[in-house]
Symmetry: C2
Subunit: 166 residues, 2 copies
DNA sequence: TTTTGTGTTCAGTCACGACTGAACAAAATA
DNA sequence: TATTTTGTTCAGTCGTGACTGAACACAAAA
């Protein structure tokens, strides 16, 4: 049904996703949607992955909220279908970008509020701030650069999609 | 005993650490070590954080293995002491760098092994590879740049340390 | 309206893993 | 050697949260 390489991809992706805070089944859904040629419905996910409807529903909503999966509802079809947002690795990075930002914020607030006797702590905090600042900036630069270059490719992708729809 | 701002820092850091896969107590240890002027021993961590010896031992080993905490053993003192490695945010980033690398590897292996009928999957994988490649490169550039600039600051830091030791 | 199909919610179950505390190991003192 | 101090290991407890399955809500068809 599915090529062994596809199965292995799904398994390995679900492990990676788990370490990024996404439940195992969520990772499986993501992997299967990457491998599939066309969007899958909720009950297809249930039967293909042998998990409960509730679990699929919860994990789909999680993946939607993180912007890695899109829901598409065709006219005249009550069934919703799901596909991966091709930019899902981008969304993963955005999460770690957000973490860096709040790391920076936490360090700054602590340093400004601490009394001056916390000499070493303030030193350490300054270093943390400096690092998270350049790390945030570097990630932001990388993302904008990526988006620009992706824009160029999109012309071809759009044509491809038009063909598929017609 | 500890300034309120320091307490809040520890609490917020432990939350951030948790989302990065470090147990809550590990995050508390890390935060306390950042706030403290001098390295702390194992039993000091036990009494300050009100947790068990076993828990401190396990979490310290985890933090050591991730390179965010250093163990220092003074001559003539049986007690080990611990301090944060000032570069611990760097180590956090290195983790997400490693994740990006394996994401790239997983995608490449899958794409090369999949038969050609997996058209859309291969497209998606290609996109994933492209993104993780530039993201890995950008992170690497950022890290080397940071290390170079940190080298310059280290002269001052070393002087400071010498004073503390003497 | 009733029936049928689809998606969500929720109480209950289960598994994983963090934490504890006691037993143990190791090493320096006496 | 025995004693004291420090760190680690491990069996057991506990809490969190993911998963299930049934009940529910909703909307389209009959």
């Amino acid at each position: 049904m599915l090529h062994p390489a596809a199965v292995e991809f799904i398994e390995r992706l679900s492990l990676l996703a788990e370490s990024a805070g996404i439940p195992r089944i969520g990772g499986c859904i993501l992997g299967l949607l990457v491998m599939e040629e066309s969007p899958l419905s909720s009950d297809e996910l249930v039967s293909r992955l042998q998990v409960s409807k509730g679990s699929v529903s919860a994990n789909i909503r999680l993946l939607e909220s993180r912007g890695v999966v899109r829901r598409i509802s065709h006219l005249g079809d009550r069934k919703d279908r799901f596909e991966v947002d091709a930019s899902f690795p981008e969304r993963m990075i955005e999460r770690s970008l957000a973490e860096q930002r709040s790391m920076r914020l936490v360090a700054m607030e602590a340093r400004s509020r601490l009394p001056s006797r916390y000499v070493r702590a303030k030193d350490a905090l300054r270093r943390i701030e400096a690092f998270s600042t350049i790390s945030v900036e570097s990630m932001e630069r990388m993302l904008t650069k990526w988006r620009e270059s992706a824009h160029e490719d999109e012309a071809a992708a759009t044509v491809h999609e038009d063909v598929a729809v017609s």
